[in-house]
């Protein structure tokens, strides 16, 4: 019986981590539904970007208030993992504050003291975040795509963090021997007197309860990530590592199109020629994207990484002038549809069964896509280098090349380019007239 808590702890830990690993594998599987894209060149630059942007939060601080608060929560999260490690070892071995003897009172006190201060700062930051989200009327939190689950998700994360931080302080405050030692309790010493009237046994029970709920809460929170925008705490790292390194104005040249255009322009090509012996029979490729599986793996990773912060949308000229386009919604729709496809695959024994739906029209409307000026403001703004523009472009390509569904005026523009070599209806022979005028 003496080992019961240890066994229960081990079971909770294994269950929590296994469930998490299972879900992470599902994310990998879903991302791998996307098309291959090579993003492994120039490794030094990629490491540099990841360290600067994901670890160093360099793009967060462009908005000083939320950037600063975010860094507090982020640093708190990173550092407190040392404390979590101690809790795990204690839980498994049945020890109590094993690092104290190991590290010596002075250093241990310094560490725990730091955690307490960070926990208090995180608590304050999270309360301010909650206020910004729910009371301050900040436009980017009020968009239509933020109603319902996305709003609740944002708040849930904040509640989780408030509770976890409170439990950590309470746990320390009710640890009588820890309080008596007077090391590393800069915050909890002020909470401890609240329990003065309680019996020693009651205080101990509170301490144990706080300890257990704290660690179980962390395991639950870990598993909440999969369902939440909070997944960014993990995926921001690969996402910044594999992000586009080319100039933002450079769009991909579709290779499948190049092959066809070359054939069209080659005067010696015989369109009826049989393919050379041994050449693979070509499957006609779909041009552009109408569903998530037409997108590439990076675009799908982008969708899972999105934190729904809305910095992209608040910089989008189309959105600022009241048009339907919201780059954040493009990312959220892509993730929603990808998860739907994933659930479909799970339900059908590993293969996707046509559900009569797709990303285009069922989630994203052509009206949203055509409002984009391709100005890259959304890409520039994203704190973790997500590229909503590439998805918009791939979907436009589908609309134009597969469906011939461009707005009328664009069709006119394109036939002008085709016939006159200019988007306007002028004669190419007049192209140098400007030099003769004035």
């Amino acid at each position: 019986m003496q080992y019961l808590p240890n066994i229960l702890f081990a079971i909770a830990l294994i269950a929590g981590i296994s469930f998490f690993v299972m879900n992470i594998r599902k994310i990998f599987r879903n991302i791998n539904l996307g098309k291959e894209i090579n993003r492994t060149d120039n490794k030094p630059q990629r490491w540099k970007n990841m360290i600067k942007i994901a670890l160093g939060q360099s793009k967060m601080v462009r908005r000083p208030v939320s950037g600063f608060l975010h860094i507090i929560v982020y640093v708190g999260f990173i550092i407190i993992n040392i404390e979590v490690l101690e809790i795990i070892i204690d839980g498994l071995l049945g020890t109590h504050r094993i690092f104290q003897g190991f590290l010596g009172n002075a250093f241990y006190g310094f560490l725990i003291g730091t955690f307490e201060i960070l926990a208090a700062l995180v608590f304050v930051a999270v309360v301010l975040f909650w206020t910004r989200r729910n009371i301050a009327n900040i436009k980017r939190f009020l968009s239509s795509e933020m109603k319902g689950w996305p709003k609740m998700d944002g708040n849930m994360i904040l509640y989780f963090e408030m509770v976890l931080m409170t439990l950590f302080i309470v746990m320390n405050a009710t640890d009588t021997t820890f309080q008596q030692a007077g090391i590393g309790n800069p915050i909890s010493q002020f909470i401890a007197p609240l329990f003065d009237g309680f019996s020693a046994e009651a205080v101990h029970t509170i301490e144990r309860t706080a300890w257990w709920i704290h660690i179980l809460g962390i395991l639950v929170f870990l598993n909440y990530l999969y369902y939440s925008k909070h997944l960014h705490i993990l995926l921001a790292f690969p996402n910044t590592f594999f992000a586009n390194l080319n100039p933002k104005g450079q769009f991909t040249n579709l290779e499948s199109v190049t092959a066809e255009v070359k054939l069209m322009m080659d005067p010696d090509a015989d369109p009826y020629a049989t393919p050379a012996e041994g050449a693979e029979a070509e499957v006609p490729e779909k041009f552009g994207a109408s569903d998530v599986i037409d997108l590439n793996k990076m675009q799908l990773l982008n969708a899972y990484t999105c934190t729904e912060c809305g910095r992209c949308t608040s910089a989008c000229p189309a959105n600022l002038t009241g048009k339907k386009l919201s780059p954040r919604k493009i990312m959220m729709d892509t993730r929603d549809r990808l998860e739907e496809v994933g659930r479909n695959i799970d339900a059908n024994g590993g293969t996707f069964k046509d559900d009569g739906k797709q990303l285009l029209n069922d989630y994203i409307l052509p009206e949203e896509l055509w409002a984009c000026t391709s100005c890259n403001a959304c890409v520039e703004e994203c704190p973790v280098n997500i590229d909503p523009l590439s998805i918009i472009m791939d979907m436009r390509r589908y609309l134009v090349m597969e469906e011939s569904a461009a707005p009328q005026e664009l069709n006119a523009m394109m036939s002008n380019i085709e016939n006159n070599g200019a988007p306007w209806q002028y004669n190419q022979q007049d192209r140098l007239n400007w030099a003769k005028e004035d």
Partner: protein
């Protein structure tokens, strides 16, 4: 105005230092034609040997590509590359950030590899090589704000060369609240120039013009023919034509030097 073509040059057995890619706007649009002419005046003034393709030039395909028509884009690109490579072009300069971006970034993987400059970069080089001086007395004291074109700024990280040239005009350069990497689009990019905007509560070029007007400028400087059109329309919409003019940096330099 003497504007030699590559065909003329070739007939004389000459290879110019640089090809001036005029672009469709610079060739046909009445407002943008003035920018082309101002730039040619600067090239002559600095004794640059240059040529244009003239009637052999065709759309780069940028607008088709942003509209999603990759087929049309690549056909245009390959035809242009054939012409450019036929003339053994090495160096290209253009006043249009869209042509600049496409020629510089999107043509190489289709077989067109050139050294491509935006005219503000090219003029900057002329100055640092001592081939051109800007008279800073003509426009002295004017308040000028610069609107960053997306395909020059965010698209290719070129923020300094236009600003450097504006400072050399001896004017008072002011920045809008949204500038450089956070600049607001003029509303014309991504083929929007050629269609009506989707339903909203404002036009993008009006919002951007309001950004500019907040700096109380005498001149809104641009480095893109499409931005120029959009900002000019914005100024008209705001009925500020009497107080504010929209000018390309090439036009300002030509004006400063009385070209």
């Amino acid at each position: 105005m003497n504007v030699p073509t590559m065909a003329d040059m070739m007939a004389q057995g000459k290879q110019p230092e640089v090809l001036f890619w005029v672009g469709a706007a610079g060739s046909y649009d009445d407002r943008a034609k003035k920018i082309s002419r101002a730039f040619v005046k600067i090239l002559h003034h600095a004794n640059v040997s240059f040529a244009v393709l003239g009637t052999e030039e065709s759309s780069t395909g940028d607008a088709a590509k942003r509209a999603g028509n990759e087929f049309l884009f690549q056909m245009q690109a390959m035809m242009n590359i054939e012409v450019l490579n036929g003339y053994e072009v090495k160096k290209i300069v253009t006043c249009d950030p869209h042509s600049f971006n496409t020629l510089k970034n999107e043509y190489p993987s289709l077989g067109g590899k050139y050294e491509v400059f935006h005219h503000t970069q090219f003029i900057q080089d002329l100055i640092s090589d001592g081939r051109l001086k800007i008279d800073e007395s003509t426009l002295q004291g004017k308040r000028v704000t610069f609107h960053d074109p997306c395909y020059l700024g965010r698209g290719n990280d070129v923020y300094e060369s236009p600003r450097d040239l504006i400072r050399r005009l001896g004017v008072n350069l002011t920045e809008m609240k949204r500038s450089k990497s956070t600049a607001l689009c003029c509303g014309a990019g991504g083929a929007q120039m050629f269609k009506d905007a989707e339903k909203g509560d404002k036009e993008i070029n009006v919002l951007r013009t309001e950004d500019a007007l907040e700096t109380k400028p005498d001149i809104i400087a641009t480095g893109c023919p499409y931005c120029n059109t959009m900002m000019t329309d914005g100024i008209k919409f705001k009925e500020k034509e009497a107080e504010v003019v929209v000018k390309d940096i090439a036009e300002l330099i030509a004006e400063a030097n009385n070209l």
